[in-house]
């Protein structure tokens, strides 16, 4: 089996160690005996969403985000179809803003985005930076991560997370992120698949099953990752009942 991962804007949206997510997917898929191809894609490239089994896009500076958007918006219909076809898409950090209707900049300019979903992003004039602990109904284990953003989103229909600690979609929000079919979007930055091995395992399994329903899985090796995850929660969030 060959699985092709499209890594969108690896050289523009790579602000917070996002490449960790690609490393995680690659290694875990390979451990299952899958041939993995990573397509490093950027604004000089033609995108072909028929060719990818999994697409990843991460966080960037506001400026780099706009450079990427100018290129990505040409593919808005392809992206919509890709997501409706149940294919896998992971968006972390401020790249989640690209999938709404528009971004309302802090000088009140409306920047048109992909329009995959109906939400809008409002850019604040203060930066929201905090640790995060979230819960998703699909998983027993809480998600840990970090947020570092100017944007807030207040009208997501299909939130991915319940906020236990952190900024969430906006200060004092109770939910965060979006999960629609196999599209997962979150403001959490950086290597969230590394820090949340349960999520990594889930995605690896699902993407393989989407190609072969009878696939026989080998045992996953996620020992370091799992201990790092539980250590973090025990040391810093032991008061949270999970």
């Amino acid at each position: 089996m060959i699985i092709t991962i499209g890594y969108l804007y690896y050289d523009l949206l790579n602000l917070y160690g996002e490449n960790g997510n690609i490393k995680a997917l690659k290694k875990q898929l390979e451990d299952q005996g899958i041939n993995v191809t990573i397509k490093f894609l950027t604004i000089d490239d033609d995108l072909d969403f028929n060719k990818y089994d999994f697409v990843y896009i991460g966080a960037g500076t506001e400026n780099n985000q706009k450079i990427a958007l100018k290129h990505l918006i040409k593919y808005k219909n392809d992206i919509k179809k890709y997501i409706e076809d149940n294919k896998f898409f992971l968006s972390t950090g401020n790249s989640i803003e690209l999938f709404g209707k528009h971004i309302l900049d802090n000088n009140k300019t409306k920047i048109k985005t992909l329009g995959t979903f109906k939400y809008q992003t409002i850019i604040e004039d203060f930066r929201m930076i905090d640790e995060a602990v979230f819960k998703a109904s699909l998983f027993d284990e809480p998600f840990i991560g970090f947020q570092n953003q100017y944007g807030v989103i207040k009208d997501i229909q299909e939130p991915f997370f319940k906020v236990i600690k952190g900024v969430g979609s906006y200060p004092n929000s109770t939910t965060e992120g979006i999960n629609y079919k196999n599209f997962y979007g979150t403001y959490l930055i950086g290597p969230i698949l590394i820090r949340n091995p349960h999520f990594l395992k889930h995605l690896v399994k699902e993407v393989i099953l989407s190609k072969d329903k009878k696939f026989k899985f080998k045992k996953f090796n996620l020992n370091f990752e799992t201990t790092a995850h539980s250590n973090f929660l025990e040391r810093h969030y032991s008061e949270i009942s999970i």
Partner: protein, 438 residues
């Protein structure tokens, strides 16, 4: 009122110094008594600010020593702090009650995020910006925010002294109408076509957003670049260093020796050389001073544990460009060795535990046969171990000690003759305490 504040805090500063307690307290108090106190000071003709992600303290130390050995009186804040209180404490200590700085030269290193707080009150005539890259993102957000912060403070009457090899720094020159002096380093035998870091801060042209072409990299985002689509390119340096060998370089047809072969030292020295010349020091006096630096650029500390030599590479978490240089140094040591990596806290400054920076560092370069084991120590040892695993390092080579009190036992048990210890400040303290107790 202002002279009284200065007299009061001056006395305090002297007393604190007498009892051996250098501190930024006088600055803090003065600021509390009058938040505009900093505007009161009258600066000397040569007032130099230094900022950047790395090299601030080194450059300000080199400049201080250089002006002194040429007979100038110099005030400098490097022994204290580079935040506004530290700057203010330095001004108080070196002024008369009417705020007149009594020295010929004022050399201030200023934290990137505090430039705006300081320049509002006191303005330098020379401003060195040595480099800018992703650093402490849990505090800074990202480098564009830091860039804007600094850029908003630059006025055309300031003479900028810029590193020509860092595109994020030369971007400051794009709209500057005042004087600019560039310093840089030409291609060396270490130059590479690909950077040692995967995630760079500026690879698209700041003028037209097209991809920049890098002829070569020295390290990180630093090298020789140009835009194929517009006229943005590496400015021709007014002072360009050419490496002769690992311990010397040529600049302005003169030879400068170094006692540390790291390339970032060349930039520190070239920035200092350029600044000296444009502020009126003689070429001879500058070269002489640089070759006889009273402050010796830090060599690596090393310690004995049993019969093993432990080489300490103090490395700041959350600053990938410099952390990576520690790893690069290790990977260049060809002998059989062991590596220790450890920290208990991510930052000494704030309690925000962001681990994303680990993935901006090229740990892949530790995937090397000459390394027998990599010992991960401290509260985040499993996070470090995970990073190493995804650098394709054999898990059998990765040893985990969560309890840093076991550091010496770990070294005794697993260490080869040479042990390279990449430690954050908090783990350095543990290490030194354990050595003392042993």
């Amino acid at each position: 009122m202002k002279p009284l504040i200065i007299i009061g805090t001056k006395i305090m500063e002297k007393l604190l110094n007498m009892i051996g307690r250098g501190s930024v307290l006088p600055g803090e108090i003065a600021l509390k008594l009058n938040k505009n106190i900093m505007s009161y000071f009258k600066l000397p003709k040569i007032t130099i600010f230094i900022t950047g992600t790395t090299g601030k303290t080194s450059i300000s130390g080199i400049l201080t020593s250089m002006y002194k050995s040429n007979g100038y009186k110099v005030a400098n804040n490097s022994k204290g702090s580079n935040l506004e209180w530290g700057v203010l404490t330095c001004l108080i200590a070196n002024s008369n009650p009417f705020g007149k700085i009594k020295t010929d030269v004022l050399v201030l290193e200023v934290d990137e995020r505090y430039v705006k707080k300081v320049i509002n009150h006191i303005k330098p005539n020379y401003f060195i910006i040595n480099n800018l890259s992703r650093d402490q993102l849990a505090r800074n957000g990202h480098y564009d925010i830091v860039w804007d912060d600094i850029n908003n403070q630059i006025t055309d009457d300031i003479h900028l002294i810029l590193n020509s090899d860092d595109p994020l720094v030369t971007k400051f020159g794009l709209n500057h109408k005042g004087k600019i002096t560039y310093y840089g380093l030409s291609k060396t035998k270490h130059s590479t076509k690909k950077s040692d870091l995967n995630n760079l801060d500026l690879v698209y042209c700041p003028k037209c957003n097209k991809r920049l072409t890098f002829n070569y990299f020295h390290y990180g985002n630093i090298g020789n670049y140009k835009c194929g689509a517009c006229d943005f390119d590496r400015p021709k340096p007014d002072f360009e260093a050419q490496l002769i060998d690992d311990y010397s370089f040529k600049i302005d047809n003169e030879i400068i020796k170094m006692n540390n072969q790291a390339l970032y030292n060349v930039y520190n020295l070239a920035a200092s050389y350029a600044t000296a010349l444009i502020t009126g020091l003689s070429k001879g006096g500058t070269i002489n001073a640089l070759n006889n630096l009273s402050l010796k650029i830090k060599r690596l500390d090393s310690f004995q544990v049993d019969n093993k030599e432990c080489i300490l590479l103090l490395s700041k978490n959350e600053t990938p460009v410099s952390y990576n240089q520690s790893l690069d140094y290790i990977s260049k040591q060809k002998k059989d060795k062991t590596v220790v990596i450890g920290f208990n806290n991510i930052s000494g400054r704030y309690d925000l535990k962001d681990l994303s920076w680990l993935w901006d560092i090229n740990f892949e370069q530790l995937n090397d046969e000459s390394i027998n084991k990599i010992i991960c120590v401290g509260n985040f040892s499993y996070d470090i171990a995970t990073r190493l695993k995804y650098a394709n390092i054999d898990e059998k080579k990765i040893i985990i000690y969560e309890d840093s009190a076991q550091l010496l036992e770990a070294i005794k048990k697993h260490g080869k003759k040479f042990v390279y210890c990449v430690l954050y400040f908090d783990m350095e303290k543990v290490f030194k305490r354990l050595l003392k107790e042993a």
